[in-house]
Assembly symmetry: C2
Homo-oligomer: 193 residues x 2
């Protein structure tokens, strides 16, 4: 079992996201969180869909210099809707505008993951299609006021009220939308363990 293998080493989650922490815990991995604190800029020639994997690599490489003996897991998540990147909203009006733009549409959530294991860095991207039904202005206003999704790319958490009420269906990995595709991560870790 991969988590038993990992638990024999020091595991570092290179991310401050409480959702990623929760998912790794549910996967029964023992780890500590160290925020890598990178500059999230990327060269212009990196395609939009490859940005999360690029940034995950950057996070992983930064910690790897300091924790050479550890297993490091880094991730970055991007919400892409009709060619537009939806970042974390800075104010309620931005969150409102984003949720309005997601209503009745299908968008894409891409998580890039990089991990450092036995002296090497590996990485991959996983994509999930998410389809919202109709979101009313009342629902959007209620959600933003009560849940304050300002730490979430795209202004929503799939595991929160609006995810239950507003999302019609997904196609792909659910946990990828939460920020870490555990199934794929374990599969890739297994290849190199």
């Amino acid at each position: 079992l991969i988590h038993q293998f990992l638990n024999a080493n020091q595991v570092i989650l290179a991310s401050g996201s409480p959702r990623r922490k929760e998912l790794l815990e549910m996967a029964n991995i023992e780890f500590k969180v160290i925020k890598p604190g990178i500059d999230e800029a990327h060269p212009e020639n990196v395609k939009t869909k490859d940005v999360p994997e690029f940034l995950a690599n950057k996070k992983c490489l930064k910690l790897q210099l300091k924790y050479k003996e550890a297993c490091i897991i880094a991730a970055d998540t991007l919400v892409l809707s009709e060619g537009r990147i939806l970042e974390k909203p800075e104010a309620a009006w931005q969150a409102k505008e984003m949720l309005n733009s997601l209503s009745t549409k299908t968008h894409e959530v891409i998580t890039g993951v990089a991990f450092y294991l036995k002296g090497q860095v590996y990485s991959f991207s996983e994509s999930t299609q998410v389809s919202f039904g109709k979101l009313t202005t009342n629902e959007i206003t209620y959600y933003i006021q009560k849940y304050k999704p300002f730490d979430k790319a795209g202004s929503y958490g799939i595991q929160e009220w609006i995810g239950l009420v507003g999302i019609e269906k997904i196609n792909g990995c659910y946990y990828n939308v939460m920020g870490l595709p555990i199934h794929r991560l374990f599969k890739e870790l297994n290849k190199h363990a």
Copy 2:
């Protein structure tokens, strides 16, 4: 907002499932749980895919006789794999056999929902495709010993360790696999509120 409308009435969840209870709570509905205690038999002429909706109606109708003023929500979930119904396992060997049969395959989870509102009963079915990756014997044994999935049709909980580690992707509503498709339920309630 539908939950504000519902919270003005007495809401009854006609199900003993802790997952359904959790989902209705996450949807911000105030309710109490009353187990309907029905005989889960169904006439032979009901098609397999229609059985959950049939049983949900049966549960709803039973409580409706006693709680005429309430809003009653009932549900029943079926796991269907290659034409075979996977029930709750009665022993570890059955759970093992079921999980083995789900490995590397796509199966269907159908939840039938019936609700009683303003003197009438309405019902619908929702289906989600769930695709497992390869489950090893070690993973299956570990999961059954640690999580004891004997109260779960198909021997797994999508929100548990094996769901994170073993499920490659789903197509449809995630919460439907947990036992209650909240998005669809709210949509149908809204039509009749």
